[in-house]
Amino acid sequence: MNHQVRVRDIVNELECEVAAGAGWLDNQVSFGYSSDLLSDVMAGAGQGDVWVTVQIHQNIVAVASLTGVSAIIVAGGANPAHETVLKADEEGIPLLTTAKPSFEVSGMLYLMGIRGRVKK
């Protein structure tokens, strides 16, 4: 495990915008997962993971809440759809956005001590 990274630390370190779920920035981060294929995220992401994606439509919130991720980071400067923001607030999932591309975001998370989940 990493030294107790919280979503708030990621917001600060990566200078992300918080588009939704601002009340849940104290969520603890366990591992990281980067993917834009929703069923791949369902298979691979786990409780507490920070999930990096370029998808912005509202179904990412369902995927996030079912897998129990601690936050979604929308990379590459895409703007989440309005319904996505509403749903993320409703479900209590931090939705962070950044202009940095996925690769950059994942690298910065790694440098913060966040590792990929080893598949069982």
């Binding site: 834009d36 294929l37 929703l38 069923s39 791949d40 369902m42 298979a43 409780q47 994606t53 998808q55 439509h57 509202q58 179904n59 990412i60 919130v61 369902a62 995927v63 809440s65 079912l66 897998t67 129990g68 319904e83 479900e91």
Partner: protein, 142 residues
């Protein structure tokens, strides 16, 4: 105890809602997080397959003392080769839906992986039925 939800083809706004409610209810009645998560994943993939590939259907669960039964029944085109559909990467999802991140061909493999038993039955031109079983952990925690 039974929960059942209607699912409408191509309704991406409601999509995932049935699985989310199922998972939430399981947690509320005291089912452990890992089991609720597995049921949620199987129900989600079944629900999304109705949204993406079928016209309409129902997704539900029966909660029994020792297991959770998940079922999904739809009216739709059906699946002609189930063994092929079960393979990782096989998908007939159209391009516009792939752009949303669906169509990796991982849904049925996920259902298989996260359930203890899975049955897929289908009639081409009529519809598809999914039956999955997830056993509850034994009290001793084994």
């Amino acid at each position: 105890m039974r929960l059942e939800y209607h699912v409408v083809g191509r309704d991406f706004q409601a999509a995932g809602g049935a699985a989310a409610k199922i998972k939430r209810t399981l947690r509320q009645i005291g089912i452990d997080a890992e089991t609720a998560r597995r049921v949620g994943i199987v129900a989600y993939e079944a629900e999304m397959n109705i949204v993406i590939h079928a016209y309409r259907g129902t997704v539900g669960i029966d909660i029994l003392p020792e297991r959770v039964n998940i079922y999904a029944d739809d009216e739709g085109p059906g699946i002609s080769d189930i063994a092929l559909a079960m393979q990782v990467g096989y998908s007939t999802a159209p391009e516009d839906i792939r752009e949303m991140g669906f169509g990796a061909g991982l849904g049925l493999p996920n259902m298989k992986r996260y359930s203890d038993e899975l049955e897929v039955e289908s009639q081409v031109g009529s519809g598809t039925s999914i039956r999955a079983v997830i056993n509850l952990p034994t009290k001793e925690g084994s």
